[in-house]
C-alpha cells in the first residue's frame, strides 16, 4: 500500500482509539473535577463494561446486535451501581481525602480484577460486532463498526456537553466542582452529587468498554491501558477540564493510533509519556487547566 492510503488507515485507527479514549477519559475527568478523587480503578470499570458485554452477548440469543444493544444499556447501569455502592461504602467514609482515596481505589482495582478472574476466568474472549458491513475504500476495506464507534463517541460527548452546560443537573455538578463549600451554602447536596458523579464516571467507562470489546476482546487485565491513557489525557488536557480532555484524547488517540500502525505500539506509548512529561514541565496545569483553588 502506498504511503498516502497507509497514513489514512492509520488515522482512522487513531480516531477509533481517540473515540474510545474520549469517553473513558471524560469519566475520569468528571470524577476528578467534581470530587477531587483520583480513581485508580477507572480502567477496571472499562473492563467490567466489556466483560458484562460478553455475558450479554452469550446469554442473549439471536442476532449479535440484540446482545450488543442489551449490553449498551445494562453495562453502564450495573457498573454505575457498583461504583455508587463503592462511593457510599468507601470514598465517602474516607471523606474524599486525596491520598486515602488513591490507596482505596487501588484496593478496589484488585477486588474488581480478581472477582472477574474468578467468575469469568483468565481467557480473552471475543464478542461479535453488532454488524459486519465493510466499507470499501479504493485501497482497503474498513470495518463499519469502527466508524460507528467514532460516531457513537461524538454523540456521547455531545450528550455530556449538553448535560453539563444546558441542564440543571449539569449546573449543580459544575457548581459543586468549582466550590464545594459555597455550593452547600446554596442547598446543593454535594455529597449525593459526588455519589452520582462517581457512578456516572464509571458508567461512561463501562460504555467505552462495551464499544471497544468487539474490536479488542474482553479480558480481566484489559483495564490497565485505558487507565494509563486516560490519566495521560486528563493530565495533558488539564485536570477537570472537559474541553481539554476532548482535545487531549484526540491528540493522544491519533498519535497512539498512527504511531502504532506505522511504527510500533511501544514507540506510541513512549511518545505519549514523553508528551505528558513535556506538558508537566511547561504547563503544569495542563493545556486547558487552571491553577487549583
Amino acid at each position: 500500500m502506498a504511503l498516502g492510503p497507509y497514513l489514512f488507515l492509520a488515522t482512522l485507527e487513531g480516531l477509533v482509539q481517540a473515540a474510545v479514549l474520549c469517553i473513558t477519559a471524560a469519566g475520569l475527568s468528571l470524577v476528578f473535577g467534581v470530587m477531587r478523587v483520583v480513581n485508580v480503578a477507572h480502567g477496571e470499570f472499562v473492563m467490567l463494561g466489556a466483560v458484562i458485554a460478553w455475558f450479554a452477548a452469550s446469554l442473549v440469543t439471536g442476532h449479535p446486535a440484540i446482545g450488543f444493544a442489551v449490553a449498551l444499556v445494562i453495562s453502564p447501569v450495573i457498573v454505575g451501581a457498583i461504583a455508587f455502592a463503592s462511593e457510599r461504602l468507601i470514598l465517602k467514609r474516607l471523606d474524599y481525602n486525596p491520598e486515602a482515596t488513591i490507596v482505596a481505589t487501588i484496593g478496589l482495582l484488585y477486588i474488581l480484577q480478581q472477582t472477574v478472574l474468578i467468575v469469568y476466568g483468565p481467557d480473552a474472549r471475543p464478542v461479535d460486532p453488532p454488524f459486519y458491513y465493510t466499507i470499501r475504500f479504493p485501497w482497503f476495506g474498513y470495518s463499519s463498526y469502527k466508524l460507528f464507534v467514532i460516531a457513537a463517541a461524538i454523540v456521547i460527548m455531545g450528550a455530556i456537553w449538553f448535560v453539563l452546560q444546558k441542564t440543571k443537573a449539569g449546573l449543580i455538578m459544575r457548581a459543586a466542582q468549582f466550590d464545594r463549600e459555597t455550593a452547600q451554602a446554596f442547598g446543593i447536596p454535594v455529597d449525593r452529587v459526588s455519589a452520582f458523579v462517581f457512578a456516572a464516571g464509571a458508567g461512561l467507562a463501562a460504555l467505552a468498554g462495551v464499544l471497544v470489546v468487539p474490536i479488542q476482546q474482553a479480558h480481566y487485565l484489559m483495564g490497565a491501558d485505558p487507565l494509563l491513557l486516560s490519566f495521560i489525557v486528563v493530565i495533558i488536557g488539564g485536570l477537570g477540564s472537559m474541553s481539554g480532555t476532548v482535545v487531549a484524547a484526540i491528540l493522544i488517540g491519533l498519535s497512539d493510533g498512527i504511531l502504532s500502525v506505522m511504527f510500533s505500539p511501544t514507540l506510541a506509548k513512549m511518545v505519549s509519556t514523553l508528551l505528558v512529561a513535556l506538558v508537566l514541565v511547561f504547563r503544569p496545569n495542563g493545556l486547558f487547566g487552571k491553577a487549583a483553588r
Binding site: 449546573l171 466550590d179 459555597t182 452547600q184 451554602a185 442547598g187 446543593i188 455529597d191
Partner: protein, 233 residues
C-alpha cells in the same frame, strides 16, 4: 428570628468559637465586629453548618436546625454572602443566580426582586462572573443570596476592598432590606463601616462575644467603643 445558642466550634484541636450566642430579629441589623482572626467568619460558617459546631443549638423562625447537614440550612431561609464573595467564577452571572434560585425552588419573582436591588446586573447576565469588576461581584454575591428570599441574610465583610461609592450602594441595600423586615447579620472589621446601618453591635475576640450593645447606647456615649477597639475611632 435567627437564634444561636452556645456554639462551640473547632478546627482540629484548636477551638475557634466559644459559647457563641446571638439572635437576629426581623428588621434589625446585628453587626459583628472584631479584629482579623477573631472568629467572625468561623461564626458564620458554623451557622451555615460548613464548620459544624460541636455544641449548641440553632433555630430560624422557630424551626430547630441543630445538627442539619450544611445543604439543608439555607433551605430554611438563611442567605449567605461569604467573605471574598466566593462566586462560581467560571459560571455566568445568570447561572450564579440560578443556583441561588434552586436553593429553595424560588420562582422568577424572586429573581426579579433580587435584581431590583442591583439593576446593573441585568446587562451582565451572560458574562462569566469571574470577569466582573469587584463591585459587580459583590452585587452578584448579594443578589445570589437574595434569590433564596432569605428571612435572615448574613454578610461577611461585604465592603472589603470596595470603592466608597460601592460601599454606600451596599449600605443602602442593607437599609432597604432591614426596612422590609429582613434580619441582617453584618460582619465587619471597622466600626465606621457599620455605624450608619447597625441596630445592635457585638464585639468578638478569640472566638467569643465580649460585649453586645444597642446602637443608641453607642451613639449616646461613643467612648464605650474605646474599651473594645483599643483606640478611639
Amino acid at each position: 428570628m435567627l437564634k444561636i445558642e452556645n456554639f462551640d466550634a473547632y478546627y482540629g484541636q484548636s477551638q475557634a468559637l466559644r459559647d457563641f450566642s446571638i439572635t437576629v430579629s426581623p428588621g434589625e441589623v446585628l453587626c459583628l465586629l472584631g479584629r482579623n482572626g477573631a472568629g467572625k467568619t468561623t461564626a458564620l460558617k458554623a451557622i451555615m453548618g460548613i464548620v459544624p459546631p460541636k455544641r449548641g443549638r440553632i433555630s430560624l423562625g422557630g424551626t430547630d436546625l441543630t445538627g442539619l447537614p450544611a445543604n439543608r440550612i439555607p433551605k430554611a431561609g438563611l442567605g449567605y454572602v461569604p467573605q471574598g464573595r466566593r462566586l462560581f467564577s467560571e459560571l455566568t452571572v445568570r447561572e450564579n443566580l440560578e443556583i441561588g434560585l434552586m436553593t429553595r425552588k424560588s420562582g422568577p419573582a424572586a429573581l426579579e426582586r433580587a435584581l431590583s436591588y442591583f439593576p446593573a446586573l441585568r446587562e451582565r447576565f451572560s458574562q462569566r462572573s469571574g470577569t466582573l469588576s469587584g463591585g459587580e461581584q459583590t452585587m452578584l454575591a448579594m443578589a445570589r443570596a437574595l434569590c433564596i428570599e432569605p428571612s435572615v441574610l448574613m454578610l461577611d465583610e461585604p465592603t472589603e476592598g470596595l470603592m466608597p461609592s460601592m460601599i454606600s450602594t451596599i449600605r443602602d441595600v442593607v437599609i432597604r432590606l432591614r426596612d422590609e423586615g429582613v434580619g441582617v447579620l453584618l460582619v465587619e472589621q471597622r466600626i465606621d463601616a457599620v455605624l450608619p446601618v447597625a441596630s445592635r453591635i457585638a464585639f468578638m475576640d478569640h472566638g467569643e462575644i465580649k460585649a453586645e450593645m444597642e446602637i443608641d447606647a453607642v451613639r449616646a456615649d461613643p467612648s464605650i467603643l474605646k474599651t473594645y477597639l483599643g483606640v478611639g475611632h
